[in-house]
């Protein structure tokens, strides 16, 4: 029996929210990991199994080892993403509207993106100190490019007929931007933000490696270079991955709320 027109979106939504594929992927991943440890006979200092890592993850959260570092990293990510994406929106709109601005700025934007952030981070720490500011700047830098380019492409892709129609209705420049261009470009802009938010996580960790007392990047260094605690290293990586996944899903949720689901 074929689905009616009213039933089809519900079915698609149910498929999207079905947790079974995600759970299946997680189970396969954990089983393969544990099998590798058993077959290889690896010691926990070399390759800890998921059970050892899971136990260390729980212990490190309960005894307060991870929480203060995770809080610091999360703050850096949120601030860095907000600053970087905010600036990128403005610059992206400028690039979309002005070919002169695009020709003027593009070489520098591309050069900044092509330069390894790992090499720039120590310089930023040198100039701005090893506090929150330098981490926010590093996050903002790494977020900026994908969001700016997505914004530029998104706005340039707005259907010209929509723009002409708005002008025919005597829309002001501000109304054109707010009520036509940005809504129409939102799918592309939010696509850039999906990429940007995961890059922000990497930016925060790199910023912490350039200096600082707190943060999951600092905890990685401590676990690896001072404590030789490989299970803690994995637990920290798992925390970073979880933060990345949660932030990504937040952007996806915002996207679905603002522009609806895509496919």
């Amino acid at each position: 029996m074929s689905l009616t027109q009213a039933q089809a979106p519900k079915a698609a939504r149910a498929r999207r929210l079905d947790p079974a594929p995600v759970l299946l992927g997680a189970v396969i991943f954990v089983v393969a990991w544990q099998a590798l440890v058993w077959i290889g006979g690896y010691e926990p200092w070399l390759l800890p199994g998921p059970l050892v890592v899971g136990q260390r993850f729980v212990d490190a959260w309960l005894d307060g080892t991870i929480a203060p570092h995770a809080t610091a990293t999360l703050l850096e990510i949120v601030l860095g993403f907000t600053v970087g994406a905010g600036l990128a929106l403005l610059v992206g709109m400028l690039l979309a509207r002005s070919h002169f601005a695009e020709r003027l700025l593009s070489p520098y934007l591309v050069a900044a993106q092509a330069t390894p952030i790992l090499a720039i981070a120590p310089l930023i720490a040198l100039w701005f100190g090893t506090g929150l500011l330098s981490k926010v700047l590093i996050c903002a830098l790494i977020v900026f490019f994908p969001v700016a380019i997505a914004t530029m492409v998104g706005i340039r892709s707005v259907d010209k007929r929509l723009v002409e129609m708005a002008r025919a209705f005597r829309a002001t420049r501000s109304q054109l931007v707010r009520q036509v261009e940005i809504p129409a470009a939102l799918p592309a802009i939010l696509g850039g933000m999906r990429v940007g938010v995961t890059l922000a996580v990497i930016g925060a960790i790199i910023g912490e490696w350039a200096g600082g007392e707190r943060g999951l990047g600092v905890l990685i260094n401590l676990a690896r270079g001072s404590l030789f605690d490989t299970p803690l290293l994995f637990a920290t990586l798992a925390t970073i991955a979880l933060i990345g996944i949660v932030l990504y899903l937040v952007v996806v949720a915002v996207e679905r709320r603002m522009v609806g689901a895509r496919g």
Binding site: P21, V22, G25, A26, I28, F29, A32, W33, L36, V37, G40, Y42, E43, P44, W45, L46, L47, L118, P122, A125, L126, T130, T198, V201, I202, I205, I206, W209, A210, G211, G212, E213, V218, I220, N221, L222, R224, G225, S226, L227, F228, D229, T230, I240, A241, G244, I245, Y248, L249
Partner: protein, 352 residues
Amino acid sequence: MSIRKEVTLSLVSRRPAGLFAAGLVAVLVAGLVAACGSGSTASPTVGAPTPLRVGLGYIPSVQFAQFYLADQAGYYREAGLEVTFENKSDPDLVTLVGQGVVDIGIADGTSLIPAVSQGIPVRYVATIYADFPSIVFAKASSGITGPADLKGRKLGIPGKYGSSWIMLQALLASVGLTPADLELVEFPKYGQDVAVREGVVDAATGFVNNEPVQLELSGEKVVVLTVDAITPLPGPGLITGEATLAGPKKAALKAFVAATLRAMKEIAADPLKGWDAAVAVVPELASDRETQLAVLNATVDAWQSSYTDANGWGAVDEGAWTESIDFMSGLPDSPVAKPVTVDQLVSKELLP
């Protein structure tokens, strides 16, 4: 000795399901890499030199002159060894040696205690730095003459980890102070020497053969606070893996230690021999001869102590190791996860 840490991380985050797949691939690759590297116990062919992979510090330096000299003078070759040097950071080297990928290398004694407490099967087999090289230094004009004078001062440090952090806590504990009694300024990329020179901090941690030497050469009188008389922490020395030590390369490792100690003695008698050997490996050193030669001389001084004078070059002071284990185990936020004994850490089987 200036040991720097550099780490890289690449995160692949796309859709959640994609992340699981990426993670699975990463774990499988890590396992394969580990499996490939876990067996470096190839038995030497009769007559053929025994290959040895030797781990040195993070960057080639005049501080490794003894290894360069033993190689260039043919001491390793005479001993039937084919030596390959690899520069690694301390944490990487400890785990690679434990895994058996690197046969022998130079690592911090204070790194070994937490590493072994986590189950990494490595042993300290010969002392290279008989004096603990990590120190606190300050300009003489700062008025700092002992650990008690550090109270309330600004002190630069790479971070709250590693040998300098352990040393600082030992130094302060000797006069009833803790790091909370100081204002710590972190320099993760090792800029403490400049910070002291420019007066950004009153004192800083450093290495006896590096920052204070360079500061003195700039015409500044320097005060150096050492920890040896307070808590005899184990300095950098040669480490090897337990499996490597018990395997067919044991004789080769013993020959390597002997050849290295021979080169150390020769350099102590004539530092220019070590200088020439180091310049042959790192020609850039020659552009700063005065400084680098001073670094080498300070390095040679740190190779010897009253203990090694009495017991021979490379001798391992087990009593000092016991004190170090006790001290590090008793620290707040101790890096020692599980109790360890000197027998688990040290082996004298390779000493001449």
